[in-house]
């Protein structure tokens, strides 16, 4: 084990896979000479060269579209979107092409590609650059949507995404690149589509992912000092959604809070809560609570922005409500 940052974990995953498989290459805006907008691909251009580290024009539709094409003819492209907010310019290709082409042509085509995209708020970038639109993409069958909350998960899941024969949207969080965690030194991968218990407890279940995991872990620490034992289930993958660990945990605690950074309406919380009602209604001891972003385009002003984003205190308050 070594303690490394999220940035290092993601960078290592790509580096190792590019070393392992010559069909893997990375393309996107500023991935090469610049070294990656978030420095994830620093050093790649010098080591792998321009053929495998491709600086693309600022043209999201053709970044994703051409990655789809290259994947269909046998390569394994990693297409980086500078941020997930620019995915809307490539929405057609993510939703109507990557997610559909295999099925619509009767299984003839395979699209082994990864779309890496950075999301999340909290950095005073204003409404267009601070979004967490993960659920929009998770809505579409045909895509896989992964968003890890720890460096170890990030590394193992990204390696699986690169090896996967399906299109995977891999969502990173801009405010988590410095997050440190233990990562195994030896080679490993983690399965896409598996939720996991990140902290054990018996009083209440928090279901979360990505940045929500950090908030929930902090909340659980504070609550532990009052003797409240929180269990945390990290979804890690939004599609396909693995509810089994959630339901198992809920049957034990009978109370649930769902924590996500995106907007509450039509969100992860709505989906997970419905499934709990559908699959474990008899185990309910309290209404399921959701902690999420306020329904507003995120403002620039720091105080306003933080007020709109979910905080540790919001998680603690929600837990108290269900207890």
């Amino acid at each position: 084990m070594s303690k490394i940052t999220m940035r290092e974990a993601i960078s290592k995953a790509i580096w190792e896979e590019m070393e392992r498989d010559p069909s893997v290459f990375i393309m996107g805006e500023e991935v090469g000479v610049w070294g990656g907008t978030y420095a994830v691909t620093k050093g790649f251009y010098d080591h792998f060269g321009a053929r495998r580290v491709k600086d693309s024009p600022i043209a999201e539709a053709v970044i994703i579209g051409s990655a789809i094409g290259a994947a269909m003819v046998g390569q394994r492209p990693i297409a980086e979107l500078m941020t997930i907010n620019f995915a809307f310019s490539a929405m057609e290709h993510i939703v109507n092409e990557a997610a559909k082409l295999r099925y619509m042509f009767g299984g003839q085509f395979t699209i082994p590609m990864v779309i890496r995209a950075v999301g999340g708020g909290g950095r005073q970038l204003g409404a267009t650059h601070s979004q967490t639109p993960d659920v929009i993409f998770a809505h579409f069958p045909g895509l896989k949507v992964v968003s890890p909350g720890t460096p170890a998960d990030a590394k193992g899941l990204l390696k699986s995404a690169i090896r996967s024969n399906d299109p995977v949207l891999f969502i990173e969080h801009a405010a988590m690149y410095q997050l440190r965690g233990d990562v195994p030194d030896e080679e490993y991968t983690l399965p896409i589509g598996k939720s996991t218990v990140q902290r054990e407890g018996s009083d209440v279940t928090i279901v979360t992912y990505c940045k929500g995991l950090e908030l929930s872990m902090k909340a659980a620490e504070q609550l532990a000092s009052e003797g409240i034992r929180v269990e945390i289930v990290d979804l890690r993958t939004l599609r396909p959604l693995d509810m089994q660990p959630v339901i198992e945990s809920f049957k034990k605690t009978n109370r649930a809070v769902i924590v996500e950074e995106g907007w509450k309406s039509f969100g992860v919380g709505a989906e997970v809560a419905s499934r709990i009602y559908e699959e474990a209604f008899d185990y309910l001891d309290a209404p399921v609570r959701r902690v999420a972003q306020d329904e507003v385009p995120l403002p620039y002003n720091r105080t306003l922005e933080q007020a709109a984003l979910p905080q540790v205190e919001d998680v603690i308050a929600a837990v108290r409500e269900v207890l």
């Binding site: 024009p57 579209g65 051409s66 045909g142 024969n165």
Partner: protein, 319 residues
């Protein structure tokens, strides 16, 4: 071109025409659903174009795809079965008229979102460049598609990255009911390539041999000089945009005028006047096509529906 090859092209053109006439009837009978865009009038473009490709060259097009499918060698039976949504269709009944493909024939589909397949075509060429082979990707689209952003992103990328794509614009004068003059800043589409420093030319898309020669030339340039190329084929569709088009945007006289330039008629005249073959031999081809179309309908109608149990098959490669 050898005589046999020319007769083969004639056969393909007639086959496309008759399959589509038959499809229009089946549509009226309610046996074909969804949208049905006929290629009638434009047969010379894809027939001449595809004749110029090597088998390892990739082909991708828009939703007006039955003709290209036939030219690429997809069996008429399976094309017809796809129109009827049957399990034996080229896309197993999942795609329909607009989404025919056969990877084994290097035909990468029929795509229904205007212009969206152009970035994907650039990606095929990117994959081939990465692999270091000399495949050319042939990407066909209407003139209407050159007004959407995807076109410009794809042409720019192809030119900057020196991708081996032959862009083929089938300028049939209308995108649905909007004439090229009303929608495009330049009515001559090849001019748009100039803005990207891309070699380009324009060809009479009603004359199959002219298309063939222009395509051979362009493909050769793309392959040996390693850059994209835009070929504009001037053509015309005789039928509505899709079934049920009220056609208020053009006069019957205009259609009639273009029908005097019918691509099959032109080719027939050429074949006979140059004594490549006889009227009788061409009539025999037509008779053969009639049988092939009847057999295709028979095959499609008697084919099974897809299994309901297979509804969720092929969403992912790995579950």
């Amino acid at each position: 071109m050898k005589k046999e090859a020319q007769l083969d092209l004639y056969h393909q053109m007639v086959l496309i025409r008759r399959i589509e006439e038959q499809a229009a009837e089946l549509y009226q009978q309610g046996k074909i659903g969804g949208f049905l865009h006929l290629y009638i009038g434009q047969e010379a473009v894809s027939t001449g174009l595809i004749a110029a490709r090597q088998p390892h060259d990739r082909v991708i097009t828009a939703y007006r795809d039955h003709g290209v499918a036939i030219n690429c060698g997809l069996p008429a039976n399976e094309v017809m079965a796809e129109l009827l949504g049957k399990a034996t269709g080229v896309s197993k009944g999942r795609g329909g008229s607009m989404h025919m493909a056969d990877a084994s024939k290097n035909f990468w589909g029929g795509h229904a979102i205007v212009g969206a397949h152009l970035p994907i075509a650039a990606g095929f060429a990117l994959g081939d460049q990465y692999a270091g082979n000399d495949n050319v990707t042939i990407c066909m689209f209407g003139e209407g598609a050159t007004n959407i952003g995807f076109f410009h992103e794809a042409l720019n990328l192809a030119q900057v990255w020196k991708l081996k794509v032959l862009w083929v614009c089938e300028n049939n004068k209308y995108g649905m009911g909007t004439s090229v003059e009303r929608a495009s800043a330049v009515p001559e589409i090849r001019q748009k390539a100039e803005g990207y420093g891309m070699p380009n030319s324009r060809v009479d898309g009603m004359d199959v041999m002219k298309v063939y020669e222009a395509a051979c030339d362009a493909i050769e340039k793309v392959r040996t000089e390693s850059h994209p190329y835009l070929l504009e084929a001037v053509t015309y569709r005789y039928r509505g945009h899709s079934m049920g088009d009220p056609e208020r945007y053009r006069k019957p006289e205009e259609i009639k005028q273009w029908q005097e330039n019918d691509p099959i008629g032109i080719f027939r005249k050429q074949l006979v006047s140059k004594k490549t073959t006889s009227e009788k031999a061409l009539d025999e081809i037509e008779a053969r096509v009639t049988q092939e179309v009847a057999a295709a309908v028979e095959f499609a109608e008697s084919s099974p529906e897809p299994e309901l149990d297979d509804l969720f098959k092929n969403i992912y490669a790995e579950s």
